[in-house]
Structures are given as C-alpha cells and as structure tokens.
Symmetry: C2
Subunit: 438 residues, 2 copies
C-alpha cells in the first residue's frame, strides 16, 4: 500500500540536536543543576501549559504578542514564556505549605513566538534560581548569589568571567536627591549613550531637556566614577548625596561586595559596575550581569537581581525575592558556534562489546552484564555485520573502548580490549577490564 | 495602587508537586535515565511543539481528538502526544547523520487533552527507549530489552515484578494456519473474555461466528497452554501449526527467553505470557508488559515491543524497531498513592549552617563555602530569626545536619554539628565535619 508521505521537518526556531551535541548539552545542564543544588536550592517542575488568565495576569505589550495562546475546549490556555510567572503562581498557590525563605531552582523549556533568527529560539531552556522571602528577605541572600554564579561557571569550565554588580537604589536615589525622578527615563536614555557620543554631547543633551548645570555636574561626576570596586563605593559616598534610597543602595552594594569576598569568589571574577541594568524596571535593588571576558559580544550570560514583590498579581502577601537566570539554549548555541568549550566528542557508552561471530553473542551479552553490574555503561553490537563495520560504529559514537570476543576469548574467559584512542589492545580477564576502564 | 488579583491556580490534569515530592520524582526519573544509559542509549530532546502536519501524519480517531492543536500566525501547530512520532520524524530527518542500530532514550513531557480524572494527566512524562535498525534489526535486541527493564526496576528498588513476554507472530501465525485471519478481530474479542465467561461460553461464541469445531479445538488448546516458559514454548511446538509466521514467532520467543537468561535476569522476574498485548496492532513481533506482583491492579508499568516500520509516513526507508516506555507521571502518582516505595523525607541540602547572631554570619558563609568545596550541598540560614525558627526550617526541609556557629565556635574555628535524626551534637573542626557528613 502506497503511503502519502509527509516531509519530516522540525520547525524553525526549535533547537534539535544530534546525539553528540545532545550529550554535551545535557552535561552543561546537569552541571548547572548540580551547582544550584550545592547551595540547597529545591527543584521545581511546573506545567508548561497554564491558564491564560493566570499566566498573563501581569504581561502586556511585546511579551503578550509573543505568547503561544490557544483554546482547548472551553479553556483559554497559554504556554509559559518564562519561569518567574509560574514561580509567582506556585508560591502564592502553595504559600501555606512552603518554608521561607523559599529557595528553588527550575530548569525547563519556555516558549516565545519570536521572529526566528540565528541564536534566537522559540522554545528554549531557562535555568533559574530564586530566593523568596515571606515579608522580608535579608540582603545577605543578594550577597550569596554571586557565589552561586561563580560556582556554576567554574563547574562549567570557565575561568575568565566577571560578575558585574550594581544596585538600582543608587541611581534612583541620586535622581531623587536631584529632584529629577520625573525626567529619569530621558536622562537614562542620554547617559546610556556616553560611550558613543562622548561627555560633551551628553552635557549638551542634558541641558536641552532642562537639567540645571549643578545637577549635570553631579551626574557627570557619577558617570566618571572609576577604579576598583572599593574605590567606586568610596567615590559614591563622596558624591554628597544624602537621600535614604541612595544611602541604602550604597550600603547594600558594600555589604554584597564584602560578603562575596567571605565566600571566596576571587577578585578577578567580580566587580562593581555602576552602568549595568539601568533599563530594567522589574528590579529594585541589587542587579547582576555576567560576562565571559574573551567573548563580551555574547552579552550577559547570567543576569538577575532583587525585586520588591514576586506575586502581587496573585496575593496580597509581600514576597520579595532575588534570583538569576541562565538562558541555556542560547548560551549553548553561542558557545558551540564560537567553539568556546571545545567541541568535544562525547559518548554515553564506555565500552562496545563485539563478537567475531554469531556463536559468541551469548558470551558477549554475558560480558556486558558483568561490566554493567560494575557500573560501566556498556553496549553490545548485536547486528550480524562485518567486524570492520562494528569498529566503525564504535568510532562514530566515540566509544573509548572496544571489547572483542572470538572463539579463543570465549574459551579462556577473556576479552581483547582495544583502547580506541591509543590503538593499544591487550587480552584481559573481566576483572582486569573493569580496572582498566575505571 | 490597588492591583486586580487573579487566583493562582494550576490547571486540572497537570501534575505539580511540593518540593519533597519533586525531589522523590526527580530521583526516580534520574534512576531510569541512568539505567537506560547503562545500556548505551543516547539522549534525545525533541521539541514539544511540532508542525501539525508532521505530528498528525499517522494519527487518527481518539488520538487526534485529544491533541493540543493551534495556530500561531500562519502556522498550524500541535503539542507532541507521545515520543514515538517525534522519534520517527527525527530518524527520517537526520537519517544520514545517525549510526545504526540507532539506540536512543527520551524522557520528556507529552500532552493529551484527556478527560481529567484521578491518575490521568494531560501533561505527563514518558520515559522511552527504542532501538532502530536500518533495513534489519537482529532479534537479539528484543532479547536485551528485558535486561533493560530488569535493571531499571531493580535500580528503582523493586524486586517482586514480572516481565511478561509474548510474540505477536504466534497468534497471527495460528490464525493464518487456521485460515481465520479475516475473523481475527472478532476471535480476539471473544477469547479475551475467557477468564470472565469461562471456556464453554468462549466455545459457544466462537461457534456463533462460524468457526469450525476442529479450529475451535486448536484455539482452546492454545488458550490452555500453561506451565513454565519452556513448557509453554514446547506446547506451542506441539500444536502442529506449521505456517512460517507461527514458527518464526515461536523461534523468536525461544531466542529471547534463552538470551534473557544469559543476561542474568532471574527466573522469577520474567515469563512467557501468551495472553498479553493481543489488542495492539502497532507491534508485529515481541511484546512486553511488566507488572508489580503485589500491585497488579496498577496494570503494566512498562510496556513495548517490536514494530516493522517506525517511519513509513516520513520515509521509504525500512526502519524496524523495538522499544519500551514507562509512563512516569502516572507511575509516580500510583506508587505515591499506594505508598509503594515508602513516602520518604528527602532533602537537597546535607547541612544547614546557622549562626547564633548576625556577627557570625560572615563565618557561617565561610564555613558553607568550605563544605561546598568538599562537595557537600550546604545552605546557610541568612534571615535574622530566632534560633528556634532556624532549627524548624532545617526540620521542615528534612536537612540531616545543622552546623551551629556562635561566638565560641568562631573563636576556635569549629562548629557544633547536630545530627537532626539522632539529636546528637558535637563540637568539630571543619575537616571532621566533612568526614562526619560523608
């Protein structure tokens, strides 16, 4: 019977990997997970589908347009577009059953119907941690987050990266002090251009929106703050700004920097950066961005910060939090493209057991069972192919050892173990094989 | 500003767990994954959204009604309802880049808009393995699958379970021999009722659909086959049926049983069961079902079999396969409800570090860093709460050790380590803490 065939095509914007890349991807995902668990974050796995009403309680504008939303029967449904809204729902829904501070990680897929382009995905993994307080949340949690980032990226094999830290209260407090809060959006837009247009043009544009000269003076002094993290904090204290918000921001930043050192994050891996995260309005205190120093063009690979209120759309409980997120799919795509973590060959199996002839297949299965019981991932080549094809299979799958079994091996209860990288081979008893491979 | 609040509700039919249960769920998921990897299956992670045309190439009837299907822009999309169709797509799409036999596992969520009821989920995990051949696939793969099932359920902590094995060709071959293939659906419907209605009524009903007496005789003889696995195979050989299909089926079954023993699966954990999987028309050879003997009412917890053709809707390549699946969400729900694997308290953190006062928080972070570097999951209680609340937190999260730090401990570079289960506590140096906990 002739079948009508459909072309087997994965949708654009959806990452789908070949096995070797999938193994690499999973290794990174698992390292992130283990790093998060090292700090005691609890796992969470919320549904991918939520009621649209719940999921879009807060959303609006661009986000809403990107959302996968649809009806099933009478239900108005949507796919989660981040892991923060599901967390807000979860904490509100199970509030009475959770212990606070509630520390959770979630690693899962989220969905955004963005315009598909290289490195932009419509389905992608986010790896989030958040710490949620019940009413209050100590600044010490903000101080521990960089230690999580540091541990995670070290475990991933990176050394040369910088965690940039700022506090939103500093800029807000300065605008308050200068009585410029109303104009803050315009001012931010202008000062963000300083590297492009230069100091003189910034001053000119600030004048154009009627910022007084003495205030421009303070702003420029702020923008010119430089030096080590400690020097920057000292300079902030010398700006002569005395609003509560500003002082709080500087104090918090100082506490965070102090405790990062206690957590033994090396000086080269963090710094105060007063220019980061000016644009976001979700964060209210500490903010983080993380850069691979040799690949700055990748942008921040791990960002986050402190927020006043996680779930105000679901509950009247005050739930402040601090968290970070790694956009894993995009990150993997980038480091793969730039060959940053070396595009290594990976294998699930440690050994491929090969029999010379059909007669030895039973013994091959027997050998494999013994190796598996010794906790060695082992595969048996069970197809009736030429010996060359069998070796080729091991080679293509990057399996590091091949255990060859012929008539002689079967008689003597041995195998001929070939190291596929060095090409060495020797006749060994099973105990010796286990030792050799481990 | 007053917010309009939305009730935070998870949709019915969507599993969402509290942290302790989530830890248990993840442990089971990871054990299944590690078991699959022990046999060299490669990981796969296909998108949850596929083009409806691709996903529904084969579907029809009940399945199609349950599918989450929707438009986004001009695209007709659907959520995967199993992991087999995505595998068929994947193997067809990347055929040239894969090595055969292609062995993959996939553990992921699938979606079916079923009527929500206890233990039935609309979003649920499936844990699949499949081995796909290019043109041919040796029966030896069918023989190794029970070893995967055995290893998996042993790793999950089960002992008393039975893998039931049959071969579709046996029944098909018998119907061919009796020239009853046309009536096979009706006959199957009748003989499936034998335990309920008894032998005499089966005979009566078979007569009613005009099956001749000598043929009924053979069918009844077949149904009455009993004994050990080997005795059943012997009885099959004695039925006097000589069609190629029948003989192949018996031979394949015999080979599978022989090799299961080579793979050291104990006799009590498998058996030939000629009554299983009569109903499915997807499978064409070996079929498997797995039962927990003390909880038969759960139904089969791991099923699968051999199929002729994985991807005929996508490719003209002949791709035979054999595989099994565990419906993890339902399985977890069931074993949880029946308290089968003991509803244990679990924890991510091994230690909670507690400081008596704010002054020791720095030292507490320092201690935690040292423990984490020794590969111990460690949490610091950073909120300014009474000491009793801090212990209560450890207790609620089932954290097995609390390291208390006060003025004295800080001076002497020690901690007071309390074993939360026994209540014992002792003053220890950090090296000793690490030893104690490990």
């Amino acid at each position: 019977m002739e079948k009508t065939r459909v072309e087997p095509k994965t949708l654009p914007g959806f990452m789908e990997l070949l096995p070797n890349d999938q193994i690499r991807f999973n290794e990174i995902k698992e390292k992130i997970q283990k790093s998060y668990e090292k700090f005691g974050f609890l796992p969470l796995d919320t549904p991918i589908i939520e009621s649209a009403e719940v999921l879009l309680a807060k959303a609006g504008g661009e986000t809403e347009k990107q959302i996968y939303r649809f009806n099933k029967g009478e239900n108005d449904l949507a796919l989660r577009f981040d892991l923060t809204v599901p967390l807000a729902k979860y904490v509100s829904e199970y509030y009475g059953e959770l212990s606070f501070p509630f520390k959770r990680y979630q690693i899962g897929k989220v969905y955004r119907g963005e315009k598909a382009q290289a490195g932009r995905f419509r389905e992608f993994y986010q790896c989030d941690i958040d710490i949620i307080g019940d009413g209050n949340l100590s600044i010490m949690h903000d101080a521990e987050i960089p230690s999580v980032i540091y541990t995670t990226f070290r475990n991933l094999g990176f050394e040369d990266f910088t965690i940039c830290i700022n506090n939103r209260k500093i800029l807000n407090g300065m605008f308050e002090a200068l009585d410029l809060s109303e104009k803050s959006a315009d001012i931010l837009r202008i000062i963000d251009k300083i590297e492009k247009i230069g100091k003189e043009n910034v001053i000119k544009e600030l004048k154009e929106i009627e910022v007084k000269e003495d205030k421009i003076d303070t702003i420029i002094k702020f923008l010119e703050i430089d030096g080590t993290s400690d020097e920057k904090i000292e300079s902030l204290n010398k700006l002569g700004i005395s609003t509560e918000t500003f002082k709080q921001g500087v104090n918090e930043l100082q506490t965070v920097i102090k405790q990062i050192r206690v957590c033994k994050v090396p000086e080269k891996n963090f710094k105060v950066d007063l220019s980061i995260a000016r644009g976001l309005d979700y964060y209210t205190g500490t903010v983080y961005e993380t850069f691979l120093n040799q690949y700055k063009k990748l942008g921040s690979v791990c960002s986050g910060g402190r927020y006043e209120s996680l779930a105000e759309y679901y509950t009247d409980k005050k739930l402040p939090g601090v968290g970070i997120s790694i956009g894993l799919s995009r990150f993997f795509y980038q480091i793969d493209k730039e060959n940053i973590l070396k595009n290594e060959n990976k294998s699930i199996s440690k050994v491929l057991v090969i029999s010379m002839n059909e007669e030895q297949i039973g013994y091959a299965l027997d050998v494999a069972t013994t190796l598996r019981n010794a906790n060695i991932n082992t595969e048996v080549f069970l197809e009736d192919k030429k010996i060359k094809s069998k070796f080729k299979y091991a080679d293509k799958l990057n399996i590091p050892y091949v255990a060859v079994i012929g008539e002689d091996e079967m008689k003597t209860n041995t195998v001929t173990l070939k190291n596929m990288e060095s090409g060495d081979q020797k006749s060994l008893l099973l105990d010796e094989v286990i030792k050799e491979i481990k």
